[in-house]
């Protein structure tokens, strides 16, 4: 049975006001329930693409649709079905973890029963237990990131967009976050679009990857397929070979 496209990107170009090109004719699609990874070096354009899909930025040209809604013309509809976690995200430090989850839950739902269920899900995903009753300003970096991943996934979005979800985390917290993403994506059939520098993480989590360099999509495919096609041991080698060709 053919899965429908949750994300459809065609010839996306994004040029910033200062003339820098964040995306240069990028095209890809993501199927329902898929975990798709964008990988590439710093400044490749990964975050730009995620921001366009998350309706934070608008494309200069090209077509970007999320579940059939245009990210420019129907941005409000897109925001209702996505949940975005920026790389450099924070939370309101004077709220408790629980209050923060409740605040987010109320923005996605208005029925008491649904709000309670969302919060319960958030508590489960975060794994922070009693610490959720404390103010966020007392949280460590790892705890904060776990809270943020929880608030991103708990609302059961059609598309979860995660920019470097384990960035700056220690091994224990990184594993916890990765597992949350994997379990949640499979259990709830949530489509996930994520970016990462960590090739191991990408291979562990992603069904398919897109390799980006200087705003251009160099290759798309399953990690295993890409390694076979480019006769590489890992995705890093694939990347290096692709860049060599691009140059």
């Amino acid at each position: 049975m053919m899965s429908k496209d949750i994300v459809y990107v065609k010839d996306l170009v994004k040029i910033y006001p200062n003339g820098i090109k964040g995306a240069d004719g990028v095209s890809f699609n993501i199927k329902e329930g898929e975990v798709f990874g964008l990988i590439g070096p710093n400044g490749a354009g990964k975050t730009t693409i995620l921001r366009v899909i998350a309706t934070v930025l608008q494309p200069t040209s090209g077509e970007v649709m999320v579940s059939g809604y245009d990210v420019v013309k129907e941005a409000n509809m897109v925001r209702k079905i996505i949940s975005y976690l920026p790389e450099d995200a924070g939370a309101y430090k004077y709220l408790t973890g629980l209050e923060f989850l409740e605040f987010i839950a109320k923005l996605y739902s208005h029925r008491e029963t649904s709000i309670e269920k969302i919060i319960e899900e958030g508590i489960k995903i975060s794994g922070l237990g009693e610490r959720l009753k404390e103010k966020i300003k007392s949280y460590s970096k790892g705890m904060l990131r776990r809270l943020l991943v929880a608030r991103t996934l708990m609302v059961n979005p059609v598309l979860a967009i995660l920019d470097e979800p384990t960035s700056g985390l220690d091994v224990v917290n990184a594993i916890q976050v990765r597992n949350s993403i994997k379990i949640y994506a499979k259990e709830k059939n949530v489509t996930v679009l994520m970016s990462s520098h960590n090739m191991l993480e990408v291979e562990y989590l992603c069904d398919r990857v897109g390799i980006i360099y200087k705003g251009k999509m160099l290759a798309i495919g399953e990690p295993k397929e890409l390694k076979e096609s480019y006769e590489a041991q890992n995705l890093e080698e694939v990347f290096v070979k692709l860049i060599g060709r691009a140059l």
Partner: protein
Amino acid sequence: MVFIMFWVFVGKELKSIARDPKIIIAMFIVPLIIIIVFYAIIGYGLQQQITQAIKESGTVALINLDNDLYSYRFISFLRDIGVEIKLLDPMLSTNISKALEDANTKILYVIPKGFSENITRFFPTSIKIYIKLGSLTIGESSIVDFATRLVERFNDNITATIALEKGIPVEFIRGAITKESYAFIYNKIISNPYILTTFLSLSSFFIPLIVLMLIMMASQLIVTSIAVEKEEKMFETLLSLPINRMSIIGAKLLVSILISIIYMSIYGLALFSYIFQVIGIGIDIGGMEMPYTFSLFILQKDLAITLILNSIGLAVLMLMISLILGIFAEDVRTAQALIGNIIGPLVILAYMPMFIDISGMGQAHRALLSLIPIANTVFISKLAIINDTVAMYIAGLSNIVYGAILFLVIRKIVNSETIFTMKLKRFKKQRMVEI
């Protein structure tokens, strides 16, 4: 649904502000300390000092070099009103310091030789008053006033007595010629123009001060509130959430205005009442004059309407300016610096009307002046006096128009990626500098 999300955000804002120690300290604890210190402690201290000064003034020293009818009358007069007198050796008149030391009083009167003779011959004469100051406190200044008033009262007493003896009415001696002043302004005659000019002077100073305090407060809060979203790294997330962006702005505006009103109501009025009490400034307009003077304003419907419109417009305009500054600021420190650098100088506009005489201007010039935001708030009362209704309504509506224009600009920015890229542009510049 938009409404519900708006209130969800308002709730979050109020919680965050209520738990932010910086805001609690700056907005409530510090002003509370200032009020307690100035109003209660210093006010109480002042009260104590004045009481003490009055007590000390109850005994005076006196050197009588005259020893004649009217010097004795002065002494009797003082005793009759309850002042205790220590009569000193006339030799001490050449050593005032010793005289005061020996007497141990704050006040020393020296009645010169020839005092009574001068009065008998209707020649002006004098009594020397020496006040011993020690602590140089506010209380001691009341002693100077007290000592002087005693002599003035004796003067009134003597002139009244002499007038009666000579068959001259006392009122004639006290003030042969009185004055009756009127102001004539654009077909209206106003008695006692001092009342009007006092009112205008005070309102030119205090009204802008009160209005601007309120607006500065709200502006600081709104600009900080938006900058905090960036500092707490929630800004990018907020832009992707299913909440109307203008609801976010509206919630922040509402909370900022609410807190500012509470702040001003409690502390602003208390502080001003303290200032008025200490300085002793009041609009002494008397029972009969007040209704007439104020009726000119109260009954002027146009003035009331235009003042209300102008004030609302001014608040909207200043808040819109603050919003724009908040959107561009990278962090709280930048936001507050922007407010100080831009809103601060605008305050000067509020005092422009103090120095401009609009009565001699043509209607076109007055209309142009009415277009100046902030200044037009104070111009309105002057325009009302000269009955320029057109300029009043221009002043009343112009701020609203400016605020509406800025609102539309803000709405466009907020609903586009500009709200994010303005920040992003600076961020990239900083990164390039670091490389």
